[in-house]
């Protein structure tokens, strides 16, 4: 029998029908829904007089538009009318169709990609989709997970399947250990820096190697979350004991005899030893330093100790122009040290880095210190109500507040500035999110992607510093 990659196995296990034109019908085990990309899908169902194929395969929560400040007035308290209508519509649709939804007032509400795994709604071996490109996050569980468009959301609701063409296999192996203070965020930024934002286009990426296996589930989710920033719709990591320990005992996880059966089946969720990949990329863990993006694309990333690139040294005209444009937008000078970039705001949150481990790492840095006076704002937005509760139980909220950071309610918040949290024009922000595109965090805003610990250290210093200098 031919050897298979993890992706091959997941694909084969979900293949309903191979069509003549090369497309295939793939069964979807879990669909996550949020308020922005679902309304027209529900509307489409209604117009066609269709019912969801399998209601219990869906799980919903509002996240993009929810306020992270006072929520005592509920949905009616959302100031922006379009945001309010979207959240209200999700509530109404879920009520109408009987879909489980963690509404704004529910302590389980949060960013979909935090909520799914936290609930055990994302399980190893599943196919997981959501109308959101960062659905790749769930691949950390040895699942096949990727984002889809609104018409596909409707297709999945109505048929429990998706029309797909098989992608190619890529393995990204991070060999050896990483040095202390290096996180999943630094690893994935270094990978994107190496292969570029289109490096993974057309591929499903499997992340492997000792440095990946050493990561916690939180760290693995951070890595897979940003597979899409490397151009790959799906990223994934083989199942091991770390995965199984994380999944055990969660509300949606199997229990009792069913659990044992599931765990047995999950042992196979890894690429065969001699499986062939269409492309293999290798990195050396020890080479990875704390990463900071300086430009307007996640591939414009460098170690914190580096200097901002100089377009004059670039031969390729396209790259040269890209650097020039990015420097101009970002308001940076060629050759300036990255550590000289002065910050206006700091954002710790998003589906990339808002889990408990991320908050612990940030709290450890700011504990007993104070946010730089030059900063306008430093925000901590937990990924879900449960993360928030856990952090408060551990006293992390006090540490943040005493250090001068704001402690907020869960949601996407300043990751994409669809709610009231945004950057002002020209402001620099150290952000733990995943996209540094022009205007992503607010019109004219300048985003620098970093790990939670790096963001915390930057909040204290007012500019970027090597977090390893803070921990000694």
């Amino acid at each position: 029998m031919a050897t298979k990659t993890l992706y091959d196995k997941l694909w084969d296990a979900h293949l309903v029908k191979q069509r003549d034109d090369g497309s295939a019908l793939i069964y979807i085990d879990r669909q996550l829904l949020h308020e922005v990309t679902s309304p027209q899908a529900f509307e489409g169902l209604r117009i066609a007089g269709r019912q969801p194929w399998r209601i219990d395969a869906n799980l919903a929560t509002p996240d993009h538009n929810v306020p992270t400040t006072d929520r005592s007035k509920g949905v009616q308290g959302i100031a922006d009318p379009v945001s309010r209508i979207q959240v209200q519509t999700l509530d109404d649709n879920c009520d109408e169709f009987g879909i489980v939804e963690f509404k704004m007032a529910d302590k389980r509400q949060g960013v979909v990609h935090v909520v799914g795994p936290e609930q055990g709604a994302t399980l190893p071996g599943m196919t997981v989709v959501c109308g959101d490109s960062h659905t790749s996050t769930h691949g950390a569980f040895g699942a096949l997970a990727h984002g889809i468009g609104t018409s596909e959301v409707e297709h999945v609701l109505a048929t429990q399947t998706l029309i797909q063409k098989k992608m190619k296999n890529m393995l990204v192996r991070v060999n050896g250990k990483v040095s202390q203070g290096i996180t999943g965020k630094d690893i994935i930024l270094a990978i994107i820096g190496k292969i570029g934002t289109a490096g993974g286009t057309g591929y499903a990426i499997e992340f492997g190697g000792e440095a990946i296996q050493d990561l916690s589930m939180e760290g693995r989710m951070t890595v897979c979350n940003m597979a899409i920033e490397a151009g790959a719709r799906a990223g994934m990591i083989a199942v091991d004991q770390t995965t199984i320990d994380y999944v055990k005992g969660r509300p949606f996880s199997p229990k009792g005899a069913m659990w044992d059966k599931a765990v047995e089946a999950w042992q196979d969720l890894k690429s065969d030893a001699d499986a062939e990949f269409d492309k293999v990329v290798e990195l050396n863990g020890l080479d990875i330093q704390p990463q900071v993006t300086w430009g307007t694309s996640p591939e414009m990333v460098l170690p914190v100790s580096a200097k901002v690139p100089n377009p004059a040294h670039e031969q390729d005209a396209v790259i040269k122009e890209g650097i020039e444009r990015a420097l101009q937008y970002m308001g940076l000078n060629a050759d300036m040290p990255i550590s000289d970039i002065q910050l206006d705001r700091v954002f710790i949150g998003s589906c990339t880095n808002s889990r408990i481990e991320d908050l612990r790492a940030a709290a450890k840095i700011v504990k007993g210190r104070t946010v730089a006076a030059s900063l306008k704002q430093a925000l901590v937005v937990p990924g879900s109500g449960l993360v928030k509760a856990q952090a408060e139980q551990e006293g992390l909220d006090r540490i943040f507040i005493e250090a001068g950071l704001e402690w907020r309610e869960p949601g996407c918040s300043m990751c994409l500035a669809m709610n009231a949290d945004k950057l002002g024009q020209g402001e620099h922000c150290a952000s733990t999110s995943n996209r540094n595109f022009e205007g992503r965090q607010g019109f004219g805003g300048r985003t620098h992607l970093v790990s939670p610990a790096m963001a915390a250290a930057a909040a204290i210093a007012g500019h970027f510093v090597d977090v390893r200098e803070f921990t000694v």
Partner: protein, 216 residues
Amino acid sequence: MRKFTEMNGVVAPMDRANVDTDMIIPKQFLKSIKRTGFGKNLFDELRYLDEGKPDQSCEGRPINEDFVLNQARYAGSSVLLARQNFGCGSSREHAPWALEDFGFRVIIAPSFADIFFNNCFKNGLLPIVLDEAIVDRLFSDVAQTEGYSLGVDLIKQQVTTPNGDSFRFDVDTFRKHCLVNGLDDIGVTLEDASAIKSYEERRRKSAPWLFASSNA
């Protein structure tokens, strides 16, 4: 999607070339979370004398009495007779949504913009291309006859006038198949419903934990 086999409907004439999607549905209405309800704002800037806003009731708005769709003789029309390059401009699917929601099922024109043409089929609307000369004749027939209606038979690919003249039109086989059977992408997939069901049954046995309902 609604099936389309044959129908007979009152014709409304839209006597201008290059009608763009902005004219069909102005951009302020795109913020909606719905894909229904655009009908009341179809051709908003031509139909009403004031500036239309989203979420506003159209009752009591000042009407442009000259606009065809406001004239009693075209009430209830379901065939839109149009001029060349109908539906040009942005790719917004809201344009066919608005036409369909208003009650149109067929649009006849000498030519259509590409994306709009495709979007029509996805939304149960039939765009028909007829010769310029035939379209000219239909415009004059409509003007002369109150309550003028056309028969449209998709199976036979034929448009028939009240006095029995008929004109053949072309349509792509797959699109015809989808319209005649009321199939969109979802509809086509649902033709494989039994394959999906049998897959599900197998999986329920081999991996039951994927189907366990939550105790959340």
